[in-house]
C-alpha cells in the first residue's frame, strides 16, 4: 500500500517538528556526546597539566645526558643538585622484567586453560576469580610484599633484606596477570573454531592444535596482552614503593633493592616546594613515564587493530 501523494505532501509540510520529544532527543544526544568525548578531554587536560609543570625545567635547566645517563638523583643537594634517572630506569626495568617472567607463563597458561579446556561452570568461575584478582587494591599487594614476601625471601634465600627486585617483581607479576590473562583469552577466542576443527580432523591432538594452530594464529593478541602487562607493571606505584626497598641503586642481582620511577614521584612530590627545580624534575619524570606507557599502549592497540584488519 502506498501513501496517496496528497497525504505525503502534507506530511512533509507539517511545519514545526520541535515538539517535546524532539527536545528530549536532542538533549539526550548532546549529553551522550559530552560523556563520549570526556575521556579525550581528561587525557588532554592531564597531559597539558603535567607538561606545563615540567616543561619549564625540561626546556631551560634539563641536562638531557645527565637525566638519562646519570644514576645520581640528588635533587635536594645544596652543593650540586643532580637529576639522573638511570638508576630508577634500571630498577623499574629490572622489576618489570621479573614481573613478566612471573606473569606471562601463568597468564598464558591460565588463558589457554580457560579458552581451550575449561567448559561451562568451571570457565565462568575461573573468569570471576581472575576478575577478583584484578580488583585487589595495590596497597594490599604492597602490604603482602612487605609483611609476607619480605620475611619469606629472607628465610628462603638467606639474604639480609627481602624488599628487592624479586619481591616487587613477583608482586607486580601477580598484579599484571589478570589483565594479561583476560586479553590473552580474548585473543584465543578470536581464533575461529573452524581452524581447530580442521586441525583436529587432520588428526592433531589437543596440544598439537594449540601449539601448531591456535598459538600462531593468536600471537599478535598475545603480544599485545604482554605489552599491556608491561605497561601495567611499569606504571604501578604503591605496591612497588612498598616492596622494592626504595634504594637508589642500579640492581646487580634480583636481591638488590631498587627505587622505581613511579615510587620516586609518589614519595617525594608531597615534600617538595611547588615550582621548585625538584618539583619540576619530578614532573619531567612524570612526562617520561607518560610517554613510555603511551607508546606501549599505542603499540598494543595497533597490534590488536592489525589483527582485526586481517
Amino acid at each position: 500500500m502506498s501513501i496517496p501523494l496528497e497525504k505525503a505532501s502534507t506530511l512533509v509540510a507539517a511545519g514545526d517538528v520541535r515538539n517535546r520529544d524532539w527536545y528530549i532527543d536532542k538533549l539526550f544526544h548532546s549529553f551522550m556526546f559530552i560523556c563520549g568525548i570526556s575521556a579525550v578531554i581528561f587525557v588532554l587536560g592531564i597531559f597539558v597539566f603535567v607538561f606545563k609543570e615540567g616543561s619549564g625545567f625540561i626546556i631551560h635547566q634539563l641536562d638531557w645526558a645527565e637525566f638519562f645517563l646519570s644514576p645520581k638523583w640528588r635533587p635536594t643537594s645544596a652543593i650540586q643538585a643532580s637529576y639522573g634517572t638511570l638508576a630508577m630506569v634500571a630498577g623499574t626495568a629490572a622489576v618489570t622484567l621479573i614481573s613478566m617472567a612471573v606473569a606471562l607463563p601463568f597468564s598464558f597458561g591460565a588463558a589457554i586453560f580457560i579458552a581451550e579446556f575449561a567448559r561451562g561452570k568451571t570457565r565462568e568461575w575461573l573468569k570471576v576469580v581472575i576478575e577478583l584478582l584484578a580488583a585487589i587494591p595495590s596497597v594490599v599487594w604492597g602490604f603482602i610484599g612487605l609483611m609476607i614476601m619480605n620475611p619469606l625471601i629472607i628465610d628462603i634465600f638467606d639474604v639480609p633484606i627481602g624488599l628487592n627486585v624479586l619481591n616487587s617483581g613477583i608482586i607486580l607479576g601477580l598484579m599484571a596477570a589478570p589483565i594479561i590473562t583476560s586479553i590473552a583469552e580474548d585473543a584465543f577466542k578470536a581464533v575461529p573454531d573452524t581452524y581447530r576443527e580442521a586441525a583436529e580432523a587432520l588428526g592433531a591432538t589437543k596440544w598439537q592444535v594449540i601449539y601448531k594452530v591456535v598459538l600462531p594464529a593468536a600471537k599478535n593478541g598475545l603480544l599485545s596482552a604482554a605489552l599491556l602487562g608491561v605497561g601495567r607493571a611499569f606504571g604501578e606505584t604503591m605496591a612497588v614503593l612498598m616492596a622494592s626497598g626504595h634504594a637508589l641503586t642500579i640492581p646487580g642481582s634480583v636481591f638488590d633493592s631498587i627505587r622505581a620511577l613511579t615510587a620516586t614521584i609518589a614519595a617525594e612530590l608531597g615534600e617538595t616546594p611547588v615550582g621548585s627545580d625538584h618539583y619540576q624534575a619530578l614532573f619531567a619524570i612524570g612526562i617520561f613515564l607518560f610517554s613510555i606507557t603511551f607508546i606501549i599502549n599505542m603499540t598494543a592497540d595497533l597490534i590488536v587493530r592489525g589483527i582485526k584488519n586481517q
Binding site: 576443527e197 580442521a198 580432523a201 588428526g203 594464529a217
Partner: protein, 263 residues
C-alpha cells in the same frame, strides 16, 4: 577398474547406530555398508541426520561434548568406538572435507604438509626435497599445482578463491594416504564453475579412495555418485545404485523427495 571387483570390500559399516545430541535423538538404528573405492552420496532434507552420520565416522562430532552413541561403526573392519582406538590414527585413515573451505592460517605449503608432519614417526626425518615432492604430488593430484606453485609460501587464507581453497583442503588430506574421504557438502559454498571443478576432482579421486559425500544438491548426487543413500528423520530409507534410485525409487518417501515435494 572392474566394477565387480572393487565392490567386494566394505569401507565403512555402521551397525545399529543410534546417536543423541543431549536428549535429542538424531539417528535411529542406522545400518549402512559403504563400499570401498566408489563414491557414495547421502541425500535427504535438512536435519535428516546425513551430516551426523558423516561426522560420526571420524568422530569429529565428539568435539561438541554432549554426543552419545550406541551401536558400532567399523572402518576397515575395526570398530572405531572401541576403547583402544587412537583418534589421531583414525583421522589419518579417514580424511574430512568441510562445507566451508577451512585452510589453516599458515602457508599453502604448510597446509599440505601439515597432516604428514603430524603423523610421521618422530624419528623419521625428511629432507626438504622429499617434503617438496609430497606437496607437489598432492597439489598435482587436485589440479592446483600450476596455479599455486609460485606462491607456496603465502598464507592460504589470503589470495585463493573458494574453489582453490576447497581443493587445497582436499590436497592436504592426501599425503597421509587415507582410506576414506568424508565430504560434507563440499561444493555448497562454491559458485557453479567452482562446483563443476571440485566435482570433477572428486570423480578423479574415485577408485583410489572410498568417498562418502553428503549433498543437498540432488543433481550433484546423481552426477557424481555410484551409490546413493536417502535418509529421513534420522533413519535410512533407501540405499541403492544411484541410477536406480533416481529412476525407480523403491519407497514413496524417496520418490517424493527426489521429485521435490519436500526438502
Amino acid at each position: 577398474m572392474n566394477k565387480q571387483e572393487i565392490q567386494q570390500e566394505i569401507a565403512i559399516r555402521t551397525i545399529n547406530l543410534n546417536l543423541w545430541y543431549g536428549h535429542f535423538q538424531a539417528l535411529f538404528d542406522v545400518n549402512l555398508e559403504i563400499k570401498q573405492g566408489i563414491i557414495t552420496a547421502m541425500i535427504g532434507p535438512s536435519g535428516c541426520g546425513k551430516s551426523t552420520v558423516l561426522r560420526s565416522v571420524d568422530r569429529i562430532n565428539e568435539r561438541l561434548g554432549y554426543v552419545r552413541i550406541t551401536g558400532a561403526i567399523k572402518v576397515l573392519d575395526k570398530n572405531i568406538y572401541d576403547p583402544d582406538v587412537n583418534l589421531s590414527q583414525l583421522r589419518k585413515q579417514v580424511g574430512m572435507v568441510f562445507q566451508r573451505p577451512n585452510p589453516l592460517p599458515i602457508s599453502i605449503y604448510d597446509n599440505v604438509i601439515f597432516g604428514h608432519r603430524l603423523h610421521r614417526p618422530p624419528d623419521v626425518k625428511l629432507s626438504s626435497r622429499q617434503e617438496d615432492e609430497i606437496v607437489e604430488a598432492a597439489l598435482q593430484r587436485v589440479l592446483l599445482w600450476d596455479k599455486v606453485k609460485d606462491k607456496l609460501k603465502r598464507k592460504a587464507t589470503i589470495d585463493l578463491s573458494l574453489e582453490e581453497r576447497q581443493k587445497l583442503c582436499i590436497a592436504r588430506l592426501l599425503p597421509v594416504k587415507p582410506a576414506v574421504l568424508l565430504m560434507d557438502e563440499p561444493c555448497s559454498a562454491l559458485d557453479p564453475k567452482g562446483t563443476a571443478a571440485v566435482e570433477e576432482l572428486i570423480w578423479e579421486l574415485r577408485g583410489e579412495y572410498s568417498i562418502l559425500l553428503v549433498t543437498h544438491n540432488m543433481a550433484q548426487a546423481r552426477r557424481t555418485s555410484d551409490e546413493c543413500i536417502f535418509m529421513l528423520m534420522g533413519k535410512v530409507v533407501e540405499h541403492t545404485d544411484t541410477d536406480k534410485m533416481f529412476v525407480t525409487p523403491q519407497y514413496r518417501e524417496t520418490a517424493d523427495y527426489i521429485e521435490g515435494r519436500y526438502g
